[in-house]
Symmetry: C2
Subunit: 475 residues, 2 copies
């Protein structure tokens, strides 16, 4: 259920997108809007604040709210030129490790980090829930629920699937050591060394690392920064290659932030079902939608058990607890066996803390606050990037999550930018990390999930200066 203010924001957003409210046009005053929508002033303020955070409207001092004009940079990053015709073996780990290690320092502004700020999570409540649950745990429970995981936690997850209209099979979900393990086990369950796996491009580096670790080859599918991969592009790849599996992130894709529309999701599930190709679905950002409703995962459209849906609590509730899961459909027994063979079981204290927390209630309330905070901050970071980065910069406009994908002018080398920025105490994630074959050299990913970072504005201004000066490819 969306709240009143979300409903109001949704309806105004619809009117802006339809063109009923046009760029530069003034929105109704708060008083007028209260009367029109029969809601309180607070509700109107929250709705306007949400729209502002999404970059759709702007406040003008002593005047009111206006629909934003498209500004330089609102244009989406260009697509990669064409479908790749060769699959490539993967070896990007060295670079990933260099970059990730450089972001560990607490003094570094974490624009290159993969995690939102830890203070956004109800850590005290989780700690208390964990303490309570472990105090009352029967000793036998410590080893009784190997390998699939704690029954209470699995029941709570099943209930959340059912609320989305998804019925998972009785072996699902399997609790894992974070989504990372779920994704790796699922990928291994549907591939053999040497197989070709279709991935988005750019794609999350962990997908590339998983391919590398399992001796698989990547075929990259061009991915629109707004709407994800194109079903026709996928069909073309499937017709040209013997693809063993896909790895896709339809909701708030990392790094683009793309949100695949429902019609595309349906088409993709259907295309894959016809080809009999399983898809590993990475849905770790699914709960972080900024709009009114949670996007349905591919799993919701799956009739063949070919979607292996993976997610976790690491990005939405409990960082560091390392609790994720897979609803692996027809591959659930294989995934469970691989789990048993590779790590046996998932930490009981972490599972108990989450089971207890979920039963207490409050998760959805926390999620609403978290989404609003991420949406607001991402919008702020986006505006700062538009303000400080050099002309020709293009910035994604994600509808969820906390990442911005930024395409700098052609000549800027973001690996050099990363090194220059790091020397000034700022981390970024250079575009190279997100490709198996060293593309996206002039792109980068910025983390907009740290609303309380005091040096954020300065850091973005500094990045803008560095990007404007070069460091160019030929520098």
């Amino acid at each position: 259920m969306s709240t009143l203010y979300e409903q109001l924001a949704e309806s105004l957003e619809q009117r802006i997108r339809d063109g009923h409210l046009r760029p530069g046009e003034r929105l109704p005053s708060v008083r007028q809007a209260c009367a029109q929508a029969q809601v309180s002033a607070a509700t109107v303020f929250q709705a306007y604040y949400l729209l502002e955070s999404r970059g759709l409207i702007e406040a003008r001092p002593r005047s009111g709210y206006y629909v934003c004009r498209p500004v330089q940079g609102q244009a989406r990053p260009a697509l990669p030129e064409q479908v790749r015709t060769e699959s490539t073996p993967v070896a990007i780990s060295e670079l990933v490790f260099e970059v990730l290690n450089s972001t560990r320092d607490r003094e570094v502004v974490p624009l290159g980090s993969a995690f939102p700020a830890p203070e956004l999570f109800p850590l005290d409540r989780l700690a208390r829930a964990g303490a309570r649950a472990m105090r009352h745990l029967a000793p036998q429970a410590l080893t009784a629920e190997l390998t699939a995981g704690n029954a209470r936690l699995r029941d709570a997850l099943r209930a959340r699937y059912i609320r989305q209209g998804i019925v998972v099979n009785p072996d699902d979900p399997i609790i894992t050591n974070g989504a990372m393990e779920a994704l790796n086990l699922c990928l291994q369950a549907v591939t053999q060394p040497g197989d070709v796996v279709a991935v988005e491009s750019p794609t999350f580096y962990a997908a590339l690392q998983a391919l590398e670790r399992l001796h698989l080859r990547a075929i990259e599918i061009p991915t629109d920064p707004t709407s994800g991969i194109d079903p026709d592009g996928l069909a073309e790849v499937l017709s040209q290659h013997r693809v063993a599996a896909c790895w896709l992130m339809p909701s708030f894709q990392n790094p683009l932030g793309a949100l695949m529309p429902t019609s595309r999701r349906q088409a993709i599930v259907q295309t894959l079902a016809q080809a009999g190709v399983p898809v590993v679905e990475d849905d770790v950002y699914g709960e972080l939608y900024h709009g009114a409703t949670r996007p349905l995962p591919l799993k919701a459209f799956d009739r063949e058990g070919l979607v292996l849906h993976c997610s976790s609590f690491s990005k939405c509730l409990a960082p560091g607890y390392r609790v994720g899961w897979a609803a692996a459909g027809r591959f659930a027994p294989a995934v469970q066996r691989l789990k048993m063979m590779s790590s046996l079981a998932t930490s009981v204290p972490s599972q108990m803390a989450l089971a207890e927390y979920l039963e207490e209630g409050g998760f959805d309330r926390h999620l609403r606050r978290l989404r609003l905070s991420l949406a607001n901050n991402l919008a702020k970071v986006r505006l700062m990037v538009l303000k400080y980065f050099p002309p020709g910069t293009r910035v994604s406009q994600p509808q969820g999550g906390y990442f911005l994908w930024i395409q700098l002018p052609e000549h800027v080398d973001t690996l050099k930018l990363h090194r220059a920025a790091l020397s000034q105490g700022i981390s970024i994630a250079p575009g190279l990390l997100f490709s198996a074959d060293m593309r996206f050299r002039n792109s980068l990913r910025l983390n907009g999930g740290h609303p309380n970072e005091p040096n954020m504005v300065d850091a973005i201004r500094t990045l803008g200066v560095l990007a404007s000066q070069g460091p160019g490819r030929t520098a």
Copy 2:
């Protein structure tokens, strides 16, 4: 430091093994022993109790303690006939899953289980330590210590290595999701699909599963139930096969309980160093010695960084917490990368609970109690097996851990015995689980780590009856 009673037991054990105290000979009375050793009566009682638990002496009512005569069954199980000349691809998972799933039921007597009884562990203290640590955790710490693990816990582990005279390299240890993950990551770090790995025979089924999962081939080395693999046997295998790595469990090997003597350890490390072959050392039972001192791991003799030492808290302190580690020597960076690629990090609440517990002190006191309890119960189970199992049964006499390896008369099929026993509410681990090529059909592993199991005597008597009746291979 061993306690007084352990020292006394050790010196008496030495005299028995040297032949100074001979089978059937009466030990000094408690009063005499007090006077001779200048210790209290309680100390003498504890020492005698320990020796009794090890099957070395026996109490005769109203008479005193006597050195045991070798009984039928004290003979060691025979060795496999010869060194295998072919490596084999591995596929035993189906059977392992069938058997392990059958032991989940709490109503089943857990003689087939892999775990000691959970009530042997300080679960309340761990829970309190975890609650305290999580209450005081800085939010940043939840993601700051990816991937190698919590600094306090790693320091505590390093200190324990140093107490054994082992200096691990600065990247070590890497905290993992139990020893199972450590072993799997280490094995992957030193192999490529298709490689040959030398393992003990019989060997822990998880080693065979890891080989299966990583598309490796096994070459089995005959393993003496008392002293483990023979360095000459290993050298022969190395000369005949291109072995990429070994996986060995020198201390209280699962399933045999074998304890490799120090001289063999040195010889094996040297042989492997000369061949440049890395060894994954599974040391999860190392702390569970029944004698006076902890056996030194292979790692202690490693000068080349070729030993990847893996262990965990799951069997000696914190079942279900899923905290293990690897000290991977020269392969530490590779193992850390594989960890990052496959599961990113280990559960922070579990790591914090263990770090806090270890800093508080009391681990060694707990270990002393645990060892005594396991030694006593294993000796009891062993005596019951000798009493109730059919003539011709041979039983291992482990110096640590909690497993007995039992060789039944040739015609008994322990897979059938497993099924017959399960129908009567008793689990066992049939010998087939411990071989890549379906050997050990007339052997089984029994878990002697459940001292408070009320139905243990009845269960062993029932197993004895079932084993005597058949179910034979031709039944």
